[in-house]
Assembly symmetry: C2
Homo-oligomer: 444 residues x 2
């Protein structure tokens, strides 16, 4: 280990250097789509890779809303990172939280006071939901980025129905049966459609005192249409389909307040006990770590080769960066974009190690956009080809099952989806981790 500041070599460092002291050290922060793709594309090169993530699992975010709506189990959308990489002896997986970068010393700083020296650093640390300067809304309007977020949202949705069943005051009952989703991007649309179906198809036979058909689902969007990134006719179709499922779509209305009682938009105060936030994200603080320029959402502005300006040995990819696509629009914060960036960075590193010319600047290729609307419809925007309806749903389903990791997950997800379709039964209607169990031990 040759890092000049490593007076006391830290555990992780010592272990890594013991294994492969001569290899080019690549440290990757974040085991999401971008980070994992970089690891996979660096296979076979003379590098020693350390993948750092503060969670032990890779999360398949495109289906996280299905955990939040009781359709899938947590273990069907998440897999241990070190298990995914078990056949890669060149990769060390480290469960640790990165807290900064000492770029001059070429060192990633970890929360245990230690650090990792790198020859090349790839930051793929993602984003979290954001409240446009209203962080005080978060307790009332949880977002959907982690497994815990999903089980929190699931608990709140299911508890609202349970409390409504016990409530005798009609006004309170109506508020308990009102669900608000803020933000009509793909996640908002998918949440709204699935909650509407939960109330309409799954839950009615289970309750005795309430009619869950009376539940109201609001999808509130500040912009002029749902699925703003899609073609206009697909947006219109998605909106009609949602409305047919009973979702009340409110457009052009930014939410101005979220409280325990509900939301305010325009002049309207809507009493709702369950609010889910699907609007806006904030990047991880890598731009701050590096003192690099960022946009309003905190996304680091990377160079055309995805390096941090002035730091050719540091790449940043995925939701934590902003860069323009060939059409001038920003590259969207979706899995395929992060994967393309991970692949590109691996190519640049490969060229450098071989002493070849650097690849041309990163060019994002938009493969298409897919969103599910309830259990039988979807919209797909492949650019020239646009699909909607039942056929689009089949393509959506097959594509998502294809991208899941492992045959085991594919089988169990297929079984669960089959049950939703054939029987309206959702597999994971569990209320957990709330304040409910009073005898929960305190952790040491």
């Amino acid at each position: 280990m040759t890092s000049p500041i490593a007076v006391q070599p830290q555990a992780a460092d010592a272990a890594a250097s013991a294994r492969a002291p001569e290899r080019h050290r690549v440290v990757i922060v974040g085991g999401g789509f971008g980070g994992l793709e970089a690891v996979q594309r660096l296979s076979g090169l003379p590098v020693a890779i350390t993948l750092v993530d503060r969670r032990n699992h890779h999360l398949f975010q495109p289906l996280l809303y299905q955990v939040a709506t009781a359709s899938l189990a947590t273990s069907e959308v998440a897999w241990p990172i070190r298990s995914i990489l078990r056949r890669r002896p060149d990769v060390t997986t480290l469960l640790a939280t990165a807290i900064g970068v000492d770029a001059d010393a070429h060192r990633l700083l970890l929360d245990d006071g230690g650090g990792l020296s790198y020859d090349t650093l790839i930051l793929a640390t993602g984003a979290r939901h954001a409240y446009f300067g209203h962080d005080e809304w978060e307790p009332f309007a949880p977002g959907l980025k982690t497994l815990e977020d999903a089980t929190t949202v699931r608990r709140r949705i299911l508890l609202a129905f349970e409390r409504a069943e016990r409530e005798t005051d009609p006004e309170q009952q109506a508020a308990l049966l009102t669900f608000v989703i803020v933000g009509a991007g793909p996640t908002g649309v998918e949440l709204a459609g699935t909650i509407a179906e939960l109330a309409r198809d799954t839950l009615p036979p289970d309750f005795r005192n309430i009619d869950t058909h009376k539940a109201r689902v609001f999808l509130i969007e500040a912009g002029p249409r749902v699925l703003a990134g899609y073609a206009e006719d697909l947006s219109a179709y998605a909106q009609r389909s949602l409305e047919r499922l009973g979702v009340e779509v409110v457009l052009g209305q930014p939410v101005s307040e979220c409280t325990a009682d509900g939301v305010t938009y325009g002049d309207r105060q809507l009493a709702a006990r369950t609010i889910i936030w699907a609007a806006g994200v904030k990047a991880s603080p890598v731009a701050e770590w590096l003192g690099a320029p960022a946009d309003r959402a905190g996304r680091l502005m990377v160079a055309p080769d995805l390096t941090v300006p002035g730091r050719p040995d540091i790449f940043a990819i995925g939701d934590t960066v902003t860069i323009s696509a060939p059409d001038g629009k920003p590259v969207p914060g979706i899995a395929p974009a992060a994967k393309q960036q991970g692949r590109y960075v691996a190519e640049v590193i490969k060229a450098r190690l071989r002493g070849e010319a650097a690849p041309a600047a990163f060019r994002y290729k938009h493969a298409g956009s897919l969103a599910q609307i309830g259990k039988r419809l979807a919209v797909i925007d492949f650019g020239r080809i646009k699909l909607r309806g039942a056929l689009a749903w089949w393509i959506w389903g097959i594509a998502h099952i294809y991208f899941l990791i492992g045959l085991r997950t594919r089988l169990t997800v297929a079984v669960n989806w089959l049950w939703i379709h054939a029987r309206n039964q959702r597999s994971a209607r569990l209320i957990t981790q709330g304040r409910n169990p009073p005898d929960r031990p305190v952790e040491p």
Copy 2:
């Protein structure tokens, strides 16, 4: 509603009485094996049943250790109670916590200040793990009764390996790789065998700095043998099988201390970061509620017809009661015993409603005992027939899949078990709900 103390009729009551004011009101507390069986056997009678549980799900406790050891997902061992009973219009399911009984007023008291009037009450409130007067051990040695217990134990087991991977001090590393299970009943045996296999078969290819084969699993039992309820030769076989899996079995040694550093038994202080408590239970406080006699574990002593002495309209069943089997031994706290009691109570109620003679006193019939030892062996004690080894494992597996609820769960559990056998891959290796994610929102 004619309850004399119902000055302000409470929500639950009002709802129940609105539906069926003339029917005999049966209130059942607890949706475990006993409570659910009673509900099912009361089908077709002129009764209005209200099933109260503080959790929204029925838990298949015999497989809970598989959630704790990352083999199954939470939603594969738990199902929403109201979904199980959706085709029973005579049953109202209520998510509520019972806090007492006003036996003179024939009223179950709930934590929201309300209550439920009953004509017949069935208490099936179960038990929780207990520390023999050392509740201060609980933070260091969690037990295994709820889904949260299971995900807590799972997190601790998986985090211990993660921390060992980062640890450089050999002594600390050894303590992180030492797992202690206290209590060698079926749950303790099953936990010990599965953790040993996790370390030996599943995890080795995933780690770079530690050899997970070096993990030590201790099974510490105060009594003279493992599986004390089984025939002696099966106990001996189970012990030999565990030892072949690498488990260190310590018999005749009560644990005298549990701390963050490890356990003490006899003269030995064993450094261990992960301790799991599988010894001893404490009944729910129904005996206190009723001022009725109880044994040392708080189990209510019921009359031969499972009523509470002096209260013919209150039955108590399952793990919260103690009663003798025909052989003079106490009825064991297992699912079949609770189910037999639920069935018996339904028979008594049926006879009373029809004006027939009461059935003879409850007689427990022991069908058999089954315990899994690792993924390929089991022991089965059917009394006259005793089985062990691979055949016993198949019977164990088929019996458990049979008793799961719903074809969907049976399919996904079978898929997950197949993967464990064929690939050593465990489906639910997720570290969740710890202090790890620092950006977790505070709940309102």
